[in-house]
Symmetry: C2
Amino acid sequence: MEPVVLGIDIGGTNIAYGLCNKDGKITSSGEVPTISFSSSDKMADSLFETLAIHRGAIQAIGIGAPNGNFHTGSIEFAPNLLWKGSIPLGELFGQKFGMPVTVTNDANAAAIGEMVFGNAQDLSNFVTITLGTGLGSGIVIDEHLIHGFDGFAGEFGHIRVFPGGRNCGCGRKGCLETYASSTGVIRSIKELDSPLKMSSALNENRDWSALDVFKLADSGDPFAQEIVRFTAKTLGSALADFACFSNPKAYILFGGIAQNGPEFALAVKEAMEAELLNIYQHKIEIRTSALHDQNAAVLGAASLAWKQL
Amino acid sequence: MEPVVLGIDIGGTNIAYGLCNKDGKITSSGEVPTISFSSSDKMADSLFETLAIHRGAIQAIGIGAPNGNFHTGSIEFAPNLLWKGSIPLGELFGQKFGMPVTVTNDANAAAIGEMVFGNAQDLSNFVTITLGTGLGSGIVIDEHLIHGFDGFAGEFGHIRVFPGGRNCGCGRKGCLETYASSTGVIRSIKELDSPLKMSSALNENRDWSALDVFKLADSGDPFAQEIVRFTAKTLGSALADFACFSNPKAYILFGGIAQNGPEFALAVKEAMEAELLNIYQHKIEIRTSALHDQNAAVLGAASLAWKQL
């Protein structure tokens, strides 16, 4: 059997996993709704069984998870997961599978995935922005992924962009991810004050998804278009300020709402450019991930595992 | 003559310089108001003459300046300097003195000074915040000073904290430095809306300095105390958000208003702690510089020069 590593991307909505060989090829993969596991133990048990026939080939495990801490191997207080408190994922999978486990946050895993296999292979300084249930970020400076003093660097989703704004799962108000994420887009249907709402299909009380909003915007619904514009403007404006941190060459947008065609990235770029400090103007690219939605994070988690071997 | 390097700290208000030996001892120093030089050429000429008797001992020059760019050796569009446009300081001093010159921004220089000689000798991950005419920052991650893709990392002073807030010299609105800097403190006298103003000594129309405001606060003037509280709260709240970037172990406050006793740093810490994301709570220190007001930047610029030799 060809030696592989197991890369796991734990998101607020889905858990994606893949067996990845040394060349970055995914030889087997799957996806399950996060909500199907009432605890992280049950998830580890389930993956252990699902992967039974492959276990002999697996050499190591890499996990990307919201609030995943590289230093401790744990998920700590992730606002977008039902599993609460501190979860020692590294220990859990290590004992179950009997092999080395590396944990980092999902956005960091995506950044490594982009750097090794994706749209950041030519970049030394960039930031990935993952727009999923929440908003995560992975910061790469001079080709190094930034972990920070105790493993929690790159939580751009919790920088507050509107003082006293929307309530966030973290207990604070106005965090970027309450606006720029699939959840944020859905909240805008209810929370964005607009005269266009009354005549919009979105005025119907249904379980709308962020994808619905983007599709309606494409088909000409003015309120849906306003939500997409507002989301892009809020994100672009925040990215303008974030340039003041690490002065990146590019932001790479990743995840559900970033994959809705190039228009969204263009709108983000336009909003960012309008609000950048002059020393950064016309220098920062907005790219979208070239990897399939979940793949960058799975591949990133896998390359972390390969690195450890 | 003992070999030394020339460290220069260019600030919006003063230019400080010092000759520094290999052990970090400043053997000669001086300070001149920035406004005395109508151009950067005149400043270079003046320093060249002032240092005539020492020139034989000087081996290299390090310069810290607002918007100083490590990669290009230039100051580029510094909002707090009268010298406008792009100023090739490295070239200017190199030609005049005939020796290697290293340029970085003043806050980066201060960060290196703190790391080599000051209050950050025990830290691998920290951020210096220089509160002078403007607000600068120097980011150290895993013992490396962060320059960014093209030399402009760490411009925390231009992260916007109040959407549509105070006009900033950079042409944008609501930047942190329009609130948390000596200029910001002075602006608060006019721009902070408070019922306490009428009965305050600060209601008199005079050329107040930030130090005046701090002294009046110490002597019990309620409006001055409100300004100090507001400044500390605005800064602390911003530092809470900035933790989401590099997850530092400490912030080191430096410059005029940070040196007004430990109360200010305590107030900043309290404000920051109240607004930190839970994963950062009770982990981040607020320290003040142990080096004399201008010395960290001069020593930092000097250690940059020593590094280059």
